[in-house]
């Protein structure tokens, strides 16, 4: 029964996507939106039913594999169209469908005036379907399928406003980087098949400890290849450059795909393959260190940039860095816990940002925003809740989840103490950049857009401009419409944000050290084979950790307050003084340029070389050479063709004689 519910979880979003897609000419826009929402809500309900079914099983057999048909099978490499349901996948299903439902409701209002309403919901439902394939897939090939389909959906939604050159470029970048990640997974799957003879989760995880010894190079290679995929999808170093550009997509997309769900797939992957990673501690350490590097670097960038959505995007990278550290060092349930709370507060932050951006007539620069506190009280409240949860303010969900990871690093000690220190610094930066947003946007005298909203009760009409380049927009096609909606006025948005706001505030209470450990207990069947399964910091240590986190967070918020409210001249001075550092951060540590220099330029140069030099000289040259050879051979024979009749007679005689002599000699 559980499997049936799980299949239904997959079916509804697919059906929704197809119905909207095929019916785009027939269905009224409202109906399409409602179909989209109900498909996801239905999937969420099926997810809950599957959860109930699964919880009915005894703890040691709490996993179900189910297969529809044989997808492909050659030479022992058998691939089933199958799913694998266990607490981990159900956890992900619930997070994905739950957050998606809210974001669909939000989009229903937010995208109201958009010209591609059907397309948007069709893509969005398709994304949810793909994401569910990713988390439910029963073998590595299904994982790859889901992995690539979410990449595709992400591409389609990033370049959703396809008349913008910037959007299409960003989509391309995201897609290609993700394909590189896919290739990592291909090779990992091939290696797994070669060594273990199967790609099914059940068989693989069971046989891996028998086949591999710890840190054998092959298992390390497998894990590193998996990590390539994970890094690419989760925008970790050095594959991080696409995520900021992905903000070209509509805000609900950023909220759903590029914050709450898809980008956390890498974390899910490591958690799913934890039994492989525990056989390759080196690879697990790589994951953790890369996560740490990303969280710190992304933090510095988030402090420097001024584009509202990009600040949140870098904060996403940074938070995923925490999750990577978590699952890298063995704090699986903590990592998954942070994944969940992050989905709540990050989706909330993006939604609030979307509301503000529409009020700004699609402007995203925080330098131009000011004084929205009075104009948009609801949005302001939600923004503050999001920022508090993000910075780990005591009591909020982020406080519990983030500090659980940080604490676990300290608990493992040794080399991991360095990570602990790094993560504390990161936490401080988190507080700084989240409240930088708050203190720049909300207080102070209202900017003209906020004033207009306050006076007229609706948002200002701006020139249709591309927020990234400032170019005037082509309004005829794929145009977002005269106005987006703001949370103050649209019921759907208000509802979605309220729910998320509540969850961001109290969502952490499900996992309070020493009180209730719902997540850990729920996920236990999945992670029980882990060596870290029964290693926990004691309740006392955990509370000490939470105390440290609270301190850092409050310090950070106070520091930011001092910087932006008390002495607003200081940031400018800092910027002047440390021009180089600021340039480094604003330019994203030159990640784009480095990739461009190391990979894109050489490939392009190779292409040019092929085209201009090789093709022209070697291939055409060879062709011309063959032609020339034929021609000169022709010329040689042509000279014999003198037109001299008597010459021909002589030649003929030579021929006759040669043949005659040949036969005469043979007859001897």
């Amino acid at each position: 029964m559980t499997a049936t519910w799980a299949w239904l979880v997959l079916l509804f979003p697919l059906l929704g996507s197809l119905t909207i897609g095929f019916g785009f000419k027939v269905l009224p826009a409202r109906v399409a939106g409602l179909i989209g929402i109900s498909a996801i809500v239905a999937a969420f309900i099926c997810g809950i039913l599957a959860l109930i079914g699964l919880q009915g099983e005894p703890s040691e057999s709490r996993h179900v594999a189910s297969s529809l048909w044989e997808y492909a099978n050659v030479g022992g490499l058998r691939i089933d169209l199958g799913i694998y349901v266990d607490p981990l996948s159900i956890f992900m299903v619930l997070v994905v469908t739950g957050v998606s439902s809210l974001i669909h409701i939000y989009s229903y209002s937010y995208m109201k005036s958009d010209q591609g309403y059907h397309r948007f919901f069709s893509y969005l439902n398709f994304f949810v379907f793909s994401m569910l394939v990713l988390v439910l897939g029963g073998n590595f090939i299904m994982l790859i399928v889901g992995w690539a389909l979410v990449g595709f959906a992400s591409y389609a939604l990033i370049s959703y406003w396809y008349r913008r050159n910037t959007a299409t470029k960003a989509g391309m970048k995201a897609f290609v980087i993700n394909v590189v990640g896919d290739i990592g997974l291909y090779i990992a799957a091939i290696l797994i098949f070669k060594n273990l003879g199967s790609v099914d989760y059940g068989t693989v995880f069971e046989k891996a400890p028998e086949v591999f010894t710890t840190n054998e190079w092959e298992i390390v290679a497998i894990c590193l290849c998996l990590l390539v995929g994970a890094f690419a999808k989760s925008a970790q170093m050095p594959f991080h450059t696409w995520l900021a550009d992905a903000m070209e997509g509509p805000t609900p997309v950023s909220s759903l795909i590029h914050a709450a769900t898809m980008v956390t797939a890498g974390v899910y992957l490591i958690a799913r393959c934890h039994s492989l990673f525990e056989l390759a501690p080196t690879a697990a350490d790589v994951a953790a260190w890369v996560g740490l590097a990303t969280l710190m670097i992304a933090g510095t960038i988030a402090i420097a940039v001024t584009d509202l959505k990009r600040i949140i995007a870098y904060s996403t990278m940074s938070q995923i860095g925490y999750m990577f550290v978590g699952v890298g060092i063995g704090a699986y349930s903590a990592g998954m816990f942070h994944l969940m709370t992050h989905a709540f507060f990050k989706a909330l932050l993006f939604m609030a940002a979307g509301s503000i951006i529409s009020a700004m007539a699609n402007m995203q620069d925080i330098d131009k925003m000011k004084g929205f506190r009075k104009a948009m009280p609801f949005t302001a409240a939600m923004l503050i809740i999001g920022a508090l949860a993000l910075s780990g303010f005591p009591g909020t969900s982020g406080w519990f989840s983030k500090d659980e990871i940080i604490d676990f690093a300290h608990f493992r000690g040794g080399m991991y103490d360095w990570m602990w220190a790094g993560m504390l610094i990161g936490a401080f930066m988190t507080a700084v950049y989240s409240f930088r947003i708050i203190f720049r946007i909300l207080p102070g005298p209202a900017c003209k857009e906020a004033e207009y909203l306050e006076e007229h009760g609706h948002v200002i009409h701006g020139e249709p401009k591309n927020p990234a380049t400032g170019e005037l927009e082509d309004t005829e096609v794929g145009y977002p419409g005269e106005e987006h909606h703001i949370a103050e006025q649209a019921g759907g948005m208000k509802f979605a944000m309220s729910v998320l706001g509540i969850l961001a505030l109290i969502g952490g209470l499900v996992q309070v050290p020493g009180v209730d450990e719902v997540i850990t207990n729920f996920l236990e069947p999945t992670f029980e084979d882990s060596v870290f399964a029964h290693m926990h910091p004691s309740t006392h240590e955990a509370w000490v950790g939470l105390g440290e986190g609270a301190l850092i967070s409050i310090l950070g918020i106070t520091f930011t307050w001092f910087l932006y409210i008390r002495r607003p001249d200081l940031p400018v001075k800092f910027r002047e003084r440390f021009r180089a550092v600021h340039a480094l951060c604003v330019n994203k540590w030159y990640g784009d340029e480095i990739i461009d220099f190391l990979i894109v330029s050489p490939v392009k140069a190779f292409g040019r070389f092929c085209n201009r030099v090789f093709e022209r000289f070697a291939i055409d040259g060879a062709t011309a050479g063959v032609a020339g050879l034929t021609r000169s051979a022709g010329a040689a024979v042509r000279d014999m063709q003198s037109g001299m009749l008597r010459g021909y007679a002589v030649l003929m005689l030579f021929g006759i004689l040669a043949i005659a002599i040949y036969f005469l000699i043979r007859s001897i």
């Binding site: 490499l77 098949f193 070669k194 092929c610 060879a622």
Partner: protein
């Protein structure tokens, strides 16, 4: 049964000469549809574990041991299906537009189908060579007569960015390259028959020659004679010199089937003739062939993303795809070879709609050059979605059958050596780039002046949608093809695997 499949198209082509002008095209469509029906009939009665089936064997030139011998097995059946399927959209697409000298045009197209089917079905080496050579004749005329000069001074439509091409020189290049290959293959075929007979009764039957075997020394040179013909036909790097010009000059419907099906004859030849007949040489030259294949992948992909002419993008992407197929075959692994067969069918199914879409794009923008295009999706969502599906299948996105093919090929390559698979997978990443670039630069971005964004017409949709439908169905169940061909593929590579051990 197989004879009727082979000759039906030609018969209808000839009937087309007799009927009034306005019916010619529809007679051709009817012929192609009947051929498809016949091949479906064969497929329905096909037994995946039955080896060679529907065998026809009539003595033809008894003095030389040449038989009119036909047969079908798990590999050829799907290629025959691909052929009969692929020709229908090409002919329908032409039928909906006016063509000069229609009777001759459709006769040539259908003659091309006849000879291609003959090559896939022939079980006699000389018959195979004959059909292989005959294939090029109708296409020579199709390209030469209905093609046109491109990229001249005032030729905005012909992508001047890629330089000028004249029909004569393009077709001449093609015919010279192909003929050199074919003649070498003819010599190789005769040599194979004579040497394997070893003074005994001369026969060209492929099965008999395989059973008799060839001495190792002779295998080595006969191998290259065959390989030359097949590599040129594919085309593979560095024998693709004829491809860019011919592709640019050719009429698109003919080019669609040419690129989709004829290139597969080369790969099919490796699987049917070269591996079983020359196992020692295949084993000896495995590394060389793999290097060529990988070079095709990398080079084709690199060219595909620098070219601005849509036809060339597709053409070089074919070079890369055929590189994958060759690599899969020469991995001597059942997953690799099966992946190659799957990929042959997939690539054929994708290329036909791709070229027809190029034709439709050219009708809208008046150009086939990527630079000045864009924004066509504006009023044509259905058209854009069809193209999107085709592009995604081209780049072998997981969940398409192309992905399964590519994955199996990579897996096969990995069994030979990890480095092969890793280098080949670079091609996967590059494919993502060029396929998406092609889609984006035509469908997305602002719509330039003078371009006409217009929804696909119902008739064109009727041509494209079934093809796309097949691609989608296969995406859900590639096992359909794998199951049917597995046994035949295994027996094709069985001998060479023995040797390789």
């Amino acid at each position: 049964m197989l004879s009727s499949i082979i000759w039906t198209p030609l018969v209808f082509g000839l009937i087309g000469l007799l009927v009034p002008r306005r019916f010619t095209a529809w007679v051709a469509v009817l012929g192609a549809v009947i051929t498809l029906g016949l091949s479906i009939g064969v497929l329905a009665g096909f037994d995946p574990d039955g080896g060679m089936q529907y065998v026809t064997d009539v003595s033809w030139i008894p003095g030389l041991g040449v038989d009119y011998s036909l047969g079908i097995d798990g590999v050829s059946i799907f290629l025959v299906m691909l052929t009969t399927v692929a020709w229908i959209p090409a002919i329908c697409f032409s039928a909906m537009r006016s063509t000069e000298r229609p009777a001759l045009y459709y006769l040539m197209l259908l003659a091309g189908e006849t000879s291609t089917l003959g090559a896939f079905l022939a079980q006699d080496l000389l018959l195979f060579v004959l059909f292989f050579d005959l294939m090029i004749v109708p296409f020579y005329f199709l390209f030469g007569v209905w093609g046109r000069d491109r990229g001249g001074e005032d030729d905005h439509a012909g992508s001047p960015g890629e330089g000028a091409v004249s029909v004569q020189s393009a077709t001449l290049k093609m015919i010279v390259f192909t003929l050199i290959g074919s003649l070498l293959m003819l010599v190789g075929a005769i040599a194979a028959a004579v040497i394997s007979a070893d003074g005994g009764e001369l026969t060209f039957s492929i099965q008999t020659i395989v059973a008799r075997g060839l001495p190792e020394g002779s295998q080595n040179w006969i191998f290259w004679f065959f390989a030359a013909a097949f590599l040129v036909k594919m085309p593979a790097f560095p024998l693709h010199g004829w491809m860019p010009d011919s592709y640019r000059a050719a009429p698109l419907p003919a080019l669609a089937v040419f690129s989709a099906v004829l290139s597969k004859v080369g790969a099919y030849g490796f699987l049917r003739v070269v591996l079983p007949m020359m196992p020692d040489a295949s084993d000896l030259f495995q590394t060389t062939m793999l290097v060529l294949a990988i070079a095709s992948i990398i080079y084709g992909s690199a060219m595909a993303f620098t070219k601005t002419d849509l036809r060339l993008v597709l053409g070089f992407s074919s070079v890369a795809q055929l590189g994958f197929i060759t690599a899969g075959i020469f991995a001597f692994d059942s997953t690799g070879a099966e992946g190659a067969v799957l990929q042959m069918v997939n690539h054929g199914l994708v290329v036909v709609p791709a070229f027809l879409i190029v034709a439709m794009i050219a009708e809208r923008t008046g150009s086939e050059e990527l630079g000045p295009m864009g924004g066509l999706a504006k009023k044509a969502p259905v058209f854009a979605v069809i193209f999107l599906i085709v592009s995604m299948a081209t780049l072998a996105i997981p969940a398409s059958a192309n992905f399964i093919g590519e994955f199996y090929i990579l897996n096969g390559l990995f069994q030979v050596g990890a480095a092969w698979a890793i280098v080949a997978s670079v091609g996967v990443a590059l494919a993502a780039f060029y396929a998406l670039r092609m889609y984006q630069l035509t469908m997305h971005n602002p719509l330039p002046e003078g371009s006409d964004s217009r929804e696909i017409s119902l008739r064109d949709a009727l041509v494209l949608v079934p093809m796309v439908g097949i691609v989608v169905v296969l995406a859900f169940c590639p096992q359909l093809i794998i199951h049917g061909s597995e046994q035949a593929v295994d027996s094709s590579i069985a001998i060479v695997r023995e040797v390789a051990k």
